[in-house]
Amino acid sequence: MSIVHHLEEDILLDHAAGTLAEGFSLAVATHLAICPACRERYAMIEGTGGALLEDIEPATDTDASWQSLRTRIAGAPLPTAKPARRGSAGGSAPILPEPLRSYVGSDVDAIHWKAMPGAAQFIIQTRDGRAVARLLRIPAGKPVPEHTHRGMEMTLVLSGAFSDEDGTFTRGDIEIADGSLTHQPVATDDADCICLAVTEAPLKFKSWIVRLFQPVLGI
């Protein structure tokens, strides 16, 4: 099974430049972990960042900087190698690749799923909170729960598959939807579909009255 649905250059560029919200970068990095083709394209894009750094107009006063840095590294203890974090020590490869597994805290078998209508979910904490990242487990043959699209949505399949107007998405496939796309993904019949779904954080309104009615108004 090979990956059919890849990432486009504009998203890879935003990931390389560090402009994506953390939740979206998590989906991109996890896709890159299992998609050598995108990783190769990404390497060149990140390399462009390195090349631009070489060409930037350098700052001056290097001597004072160096004296101060020299003192810092002289006093610093030698770093010790950190043991690699492993969420799953089992024999077979984990379902959740890094960096996702560390964000979740375990592989799929130890997740405390929370029930939601038509599916189960696990909210993933990010430090910046600019996007909401969650794992969804959609029962085989069932549609992905109704959700509104506000801004960008990224969906990365980790296990099982779903189908919609854009085709069938299996492990590693990533779908990027914006507000203009209406789609109704349905998990395929053979197995539950586990995917990472990232959406832009909902708008925060100052007025508590608006906040109160936000769910009703669907905004």
Binding site: E9, D10, L13, A16, A17, G18, T19, L20, E22, S25, L26, A29, T30, L32, A33, P36, R39, R41, M44, I45, E46, G47, T48, G49, G50, A51, L52, L53, E54, D55, I56, E57, P58, A59, T60, T62, S65, W66, L69, R70, R72, I73, A74, A76, L78, P79, A81, A84, A93, P94, L96, E98, P99, L100, R101, Y103, T126, R127, D128, G172
Partner: protein, 229 residues
């Protein structure tokens, strides 16, 4: 250590009257042995530059070589600082973030491997992550090639390493041939931390135009890299 480094100070070299030519005078004098190995690096020759920086980084990683680190610092420090200054007018803060970046380079030198790109790219990613940490108050998720779930490429990393420094030069020359509006887009993304969405607002261009310019730019760069003769 008596390493003399004259990068950025425009030491004139008479044999090659190139304006951008700088001279690297590297004199590692181990245990009093007077040697004068002079290595001239044309800063426009990105291949030679990255090979030299790779050697310096290796020396830092294997023997905590302060003189080698000073050379890395004198080349990258002022550039990283300029990169930080793109997001703030506070020179002191830019200096601080640059120092954090270079301390990380010193500490993590042994973790560098060619699959992280050439040295310039690796240092760029460390600086970028400092920016994400400081300004966006966000963590940086990245894939881990040692993860058992990681899917490796079919080509061996050795092949990639072989081409990498060559690519640095080729990529650089290809970037010089990009139409100005495409190069500008890349600079806005990498330096001003503008997403393609906010660039479209900033420049008053439709999102589709920004996306297609980005695609065109990278398609052109990829063609240049694939055109290995």
């Amino acid at each position: 250590m008596t390493t003399v480094l004259s990068i950025g100070q425009a030491t004139c070299q008479t044999s090659k009257p190139l304006a951008a030519q700088r001279e690297y005078a590297v004199r590692p004098a181990p245990r009093g042995v007077a040697r004068t190995d002079k290595m001239a690096v044309d800063l426009n020759d990105k291949k030679a530059l990255n090979i030299l920086m790779r050697q310096k980084l290796f020396a830092v990683a294997t023997s905590r070589d302060v003189a080698a680190f000073e050379e890395l610092f004198r080349y990258y420090g002022p550039r990283v600082r300029a990169y930080m200054a793109k997001l703030c007018r506070d020179g002191q803060l830019a200096e601080e973030l640059m120092q954090e970046t270079m301390v990380a380079v010193w500490n993590k030198a042994a973790l560098y491997s060619p699959d992280k790109g050439n040295v310039s790219t690796w240092i760029f990613t460390i600086a970028r992550n400092q920016r994400i940490d400081h300004w966006r108050k966000a963590n940086r998720p990245d894939f881990d090639p040692n993860d058992p779930a990681f899917v490796p490429a079919e080509i061996t990393p050795a092949d990639a390493a072989f081409d990498m420094n060559e690519d640095a030069d080729r990529l650089h020359r290809a970037m010089e041939t990009l139409p100005p509006e495409q190069l500008e887009l890349l600079k806005l993304s990498f330096f001003e931390e503008a997403s393609h969405g906010s660039i479209s607002e900033k420049l008053g261009l439709p999102l589709g135009t920004v996306k297609s310019r980005i695609r065109l730019a990278f398609a052109k760069l990829r063609t240049a890299l694939e055109d290995r003769s």
